[in-house]
């Protein structure tokens, strides 16, 4: 019990810094790929601190409540995951967090933020089947929904459910808000519609969204790691490779329409999930 609490608190304290470091390296690598120098590695932290120095301008006060709830539930999701909780509960908490984010965007009455909110809903729809299939896959591979049991499983889970791993990496692009699936918003300052969801958020409100994004990044890389949990260093290498792939894809693709995102994500979930789980069920 004590151990679990330590892991949860460790996540809550360390994740923003790790997330910011990852984000900073991301921006540096992106800049190098484009032949630029790029900002300092700690730039994401500077950005967030700056946002909290700005004026508290908000369209309606409800927005702050929704965005704060979003942040809290994202933190809860990650803490639950790293303390070895039930992976189904983790997924539901994550969905709830995003529901709050969408409510926040809807509450800030503006056409741009409504378009952003609708796109975020579509992203949620695209990702959800794969996440549920992943939870099922973990269960069929190890006989438990608890992240703790999956992490302590003697052999790498990825050997049993390789296709589900591929599917998760695919939807990771949507979840990390990277091109070609950065429809609702990106953490880079793209313009107009692409910034949709966060168009109406300013100052500290936007800061909370950014912090939540740092937590989310660490959480999702944690899921990637879970596939290799019995060999921690291989897991770390896998996380680095996967994240590098994400940056590469981010820089070499253009944005797609939401139809393509939804169909391809569902197709990947259906094919990868069905084949993998089918084989597992037959064995």
């Amino acid at each position: 019990m004590i151990e679990e609490i330590i892991f949860a608190i460790g996540f809550i304290i360390l994740a923003p810094f790790i997330g910011a470091l990852i984000g900073g390296i991301d921006r540096k690598v992106t800049a190098r790929m484009q032949g630029r120098v790029g900002p300092p590695v700690l730039q994401p932290l500077y950005d967030i601190f700056k946002l909290f120095e700005k004026e508290k301008a908000v369209v309606r006060n409800e927005v702050n409540f929704y965005i704060f709830s979003y942040l809290i539930f994202v933190v809860f999701t990650g803490a639950l995951f790293f303390s070895g909780g039930d992976i189904l509960l983790v997924i539901f908490a994550l969905t709830l967090a995003h529901a709050f984010l969408i409510l926040g965007a809807y509450a800030a009455v503006s056409p741009y933020s409504h378009v952003g909110a609708e796109r975020e809903l579509l992203q949620l729809m695209a990702v959800e089947p794969m996440l549920i299939l992943a939870a099922t896959g973990f269960y069929m591979a190890t006989g438990s929904f608890a992240v703790k049991d999956i992490a302590l499983w003697p052999e790498p889970v990825v050997l049993t459910i390789p296709l589900i791993f591929v599917g998760i990496v695919y939807v990771l692009t949507i979840k990390l808000r990277k091109s070609p699936f950065d429809l609702a918003t990106t953490h880079h300052a793209h313009q107009e519609l692409v910034k949709g969801l966060t168009t109406e958020f300013a100052g500290p409100t936007l800061g909370m969204v950014e912090i939540a994004h740092l937590y989310e990044t660490v959480f999702f890389l944690g899921i990637v790691w879970l596939f290799f949990a019995s060999m921690p260093w291989v897991g770390l290498a896998a996380v680095i490779v996967v994240y590098f792939l994400e940056i590469l894809v981010d820089n070499t693709t253009t944005r797609v329409r939401w139809q393509v995102m939804l169909r391809s994500a569902w197709l990947v979930a259906l094919v990868a999930g069905a084949i993998n789980l089918g084989v597992l069920a037959l064995l």
């Binding site: 313009q191 910034k195 300013a202 936007l206």
Partner: protein, 148 residues
């Protein structure tokens, strides 16, 4: 310690410029000048921006847009007028629809000379604007301290 000078986000608006100064502003963001290494990002959203870059003079139609954009930016904020047109109306100042420089509508903090303004002088102007931004932030923090 203040972070606002380490991460100034820019919004760029073209009042009624001939597009000369405009492309120079965008040139600053390309790999050659790479403004992002100073943490500067081109946002296109007034609510996220700290620095308002305007090129070209203000005419009757763009007046409302400039004012509206300026008012949507949360404090602290600075305005940089880029190019001769933005400072005084330049070669267009005698036109029937031109009101003059940007300062006829909103307060301007830094004037960047040139026709077209060179990327180096634009960067120089933005860096000078950062000093003003920091001063404004300090003043804002002081006022907030007084209120409590």
């Amino acid at each position: 310690m203040s972070y606002i000078t380490k991460s100034p986000w820019i919004i760029h608006y073209d009042g009624s410029s001939c597009n000369g100064c405009d492309i120079e502003v965008l040139a600053c963001l390309t790999p050659l000048y790479d403004l992002e290494r100073f943490g500067i990002v081109n946002t296109g959203n007034p609510k996220h921006a700290d620095v308002f870059l305007i090129t070209g003079g203000i005419n009757e139609q763009s007046r409302a847009v400039v004012k509206n954009t300026y008012e949507q930016m949360p404090d602290p904020k600075v305005v940089v007028a880029v190019g001769i047109c933005a400072t005084s109306g330049g070669v267009f100042r005698e036109c029937y629809n031109i009101m003059g420089g940007v300062d006829t509508v909103i307060p301007v903090d830094v004037y960047v000379p040139g026709c077209a303004a060179r990327p180096e002088s634009i960067i120089d102007g933005v860096v000078r604007a950062l000093g003003i931004l920091e001063a404004k932030r300090a003043k804002m923090a002081e006022q907030e301290g007084k209120k409590q």
